[in-house]
Symmetry: C2
């Protein structure tokens, strides 16, 4: 069984999410996920260190998109305008992941250990944003605050996005959330 499996990773993610959703995250085993995907446990472990990582697999890609978008913003864009450019890249990435994101959010919300993991990933995202801004010449402290603000905007808008039905709404919801953060801090 060392032959190449077409889209093994995608099949494993789909099988895992279906099982988590149907029978619960805690009771689902790696063996069940592999079997449902028509693959071996060995293949599973070639892609994921454990079943938890199936849920957090996308976070590296998310960080990379965000950072790429920030780096590509016009040279004269301010810190928050650059973060906004990064968030637009993220909205594009997620546009076709709405069904997955909805199920995933329910699983995470029901499991304190996964919520903690999510928090840590979000914090590491804020750190990546900060570094990307410092690389653009933004002062350290401004970069920290803009990174936190960006992650807050993403987090709040993401929760709204999975709670509603339009898969394309994430960009608009992030814009609204940023506007609201601006008026909250100004008030």
């Amino acid at each position: 069984m060392s032959r190449w499996e077409p889209d093994a990773e995608g099949r494993l993610i789909k099988a895992a999410i279906t099982l988590f959703d149907r029978q619960g995250y805690d009771v689902t085993t790696v063996a069940q996920i592999a079997e449902a995907a028509g693959l071996t446990k060995r293949t599973f472990f070639r892609y994921f260190s454990d079943k938890r990582e199936v849920l957090f697999n996308g976070s590296a890609e998310l960080a990379q998109r965000l950072v790429t978008g920030i780096a590509a913003a016009p040279a004269d864009a301010g810190a928050m305008a650059a973060v906004r450019a990064g968030l637009e890249e993220v909205a594009t990435l997620f546009a076709d992941r709405h069904p997955f994101a909805r199920v995933r959010s329910q699983i995470v919300a029901a499991n304190p250990e996964l919520q903690e993991r999510e928090l840590i990933k979000l914090q590491s995202l804020a750190g990546a944003v900060k570094t990307a801004l410092v690389d653009r010449g933004v002062p350290e402290n401004t970069a920290i605050l803009a990174g936190q603000a960006g992650v807050t905007v993403f987090h709040v808008a993401f929760a709204q996005w999975v709670a509603q039905d339009d898969p394309t709404a994430l960009g608009r919801l992030m814009d609204q959330s940023l506007d609201e953060l601006r008026s909250v801090t100004a008030g």
Copy 2:
């Protein structure tokens, strides 16, 4: 040894911080902390579930001060003005804890598990702020954003406070940090 020990809790915290600082957090045992405080392990466990909790003991008081300050803000204060009133209460609480906070910050910064714990406590603080704002009639989403903004301001200013020498500077640093967050999000 069931008699009352004057300020046993304070003596245990002081002994723990001294040992963590001198010999490292990982190698310090509860038995050593109790001995250094002139108390028994049994007394230690009357106050703390484990050595980690010595470092996070103040977080309930912090949350309570913040929430009390928010609730006591004038009825016509906006969400962020109420959060600012809460942060002023917190600055008062911490004024005489500067030496403890400096050592504690170094210990947490050197230990990923403690950093994760810190993150989770900060997130729960943001939740407490949100609830306190909702209780004042602030709309849910505004309350979430103001809670996150308040915790960001606290977190950034706290890191600056422990890195400098003036124990009374926390309030001023939080004001500066809030001003900067305002100008970052407006930019």
